[in-house]
Subunit: 138 residues, 2 copies
DNA sequence: CTTGACCTTCACATTAATGAAAAGGTTTAG
DNA sequence: CTAAACCTTTTCATTAATGTGAAGGTCAAG
């Protein structure tokens, strides 16, 4: 699969696919003439990269966790041997992810409460709506 | 409270506090001589800004959700009146946050599985550890 | 051969964050 | 009161990360 095909199948611009290679999170083969070629798994990989980036991961974090995320999908115990240091890095990533889940859940709950309160209020009296909390000094 | 005090209490550099004002997520008062002054709530606000930024929010998203996050903390139903358009924006933020929670939970689970598998394997045979999955072309 | 896809390379845009200069306000010791 | 030390102000510039655009050249299919 050439870069244009992968771009079409993932919705990610060729230019960006080259960038992902540059930062070491995507590793295409090369044909004799220098063209990048990608296998089928690259499609899922690119989609997962997008997902992780949109969720706030950096390319560096992705470079660290992506191999293990893909290994974790297989039914075989693990196709590759991480170092003790690698495992420590993963444990660190894990707790960072858990902290972020906490933050997101807390804020999701707050926004839900706020929305629910206003939806109820507007349903009761659909005449009172104007201006957001507004710039109040702190 | 002057900017240096707030910086000391939050661990966020004065320079960065001015930046947060510039991008519209922090709104200090001004004293006669032009100095910024902050109230006590600014401490929590800054800490929450840091938390949200580290979790992947942009300053633009924060500008949109922060007023409602603070409103949601009060016991009174809601101190300010959002527009229908504001509520739509919040609903959009909400689903975006939920998507991100999903992504994080999926990846947390995958990393946990991977870690557990290797911790078990290493506990059983502490002799086999070397090299992470390694760069394999895709 | 012309067309379109690919290659590399350089440059640019945006966001979050920081550095530094230059000028002025505030505080405290003498 | 003065002077030194310190804090704030604005402004211009810069860094790192993610992402794009475009020029100039190569490759391959019609």
């Amino acid at each position: 699969m050439k870069i244009g095909d992968l771009a079409a199948k993932t919705g990610v611009a060729p230019r960006l696919l080259r960038y992902y290679e540059e930062v070491g999170i995507l590793h295409p083969f090369r044909t004799g003439n220098g063209y990048r070629t990608y296998g089928e798994p690259a499609i899922d990989r690119v989609l997962q990269i997008r997902e992780l980036l949109e969720t706030g991961f950096t390319t560096e974090m992705i470079r660290e966790v992506l191999p293990c995320l893909e290994a974790a999908k297989e039914e075989t115990p693990a196709p590759a041997c991480p170092t003790v240091k690698d495992l420590d890095g993963l444990r660190h990533q894990l707790s960072s992810i858990e902290r972020r889940i906490d933050v997101l859940q807390r804020n999701r709950n707050a926004i839900e409460r706020y929305l629910r309160a206003w939806e109820d209020a507007l349903a009761a009296a659909p005449t009172a709506a104007d201006g957001i909390p507004g710039p109040v000094a702190e």
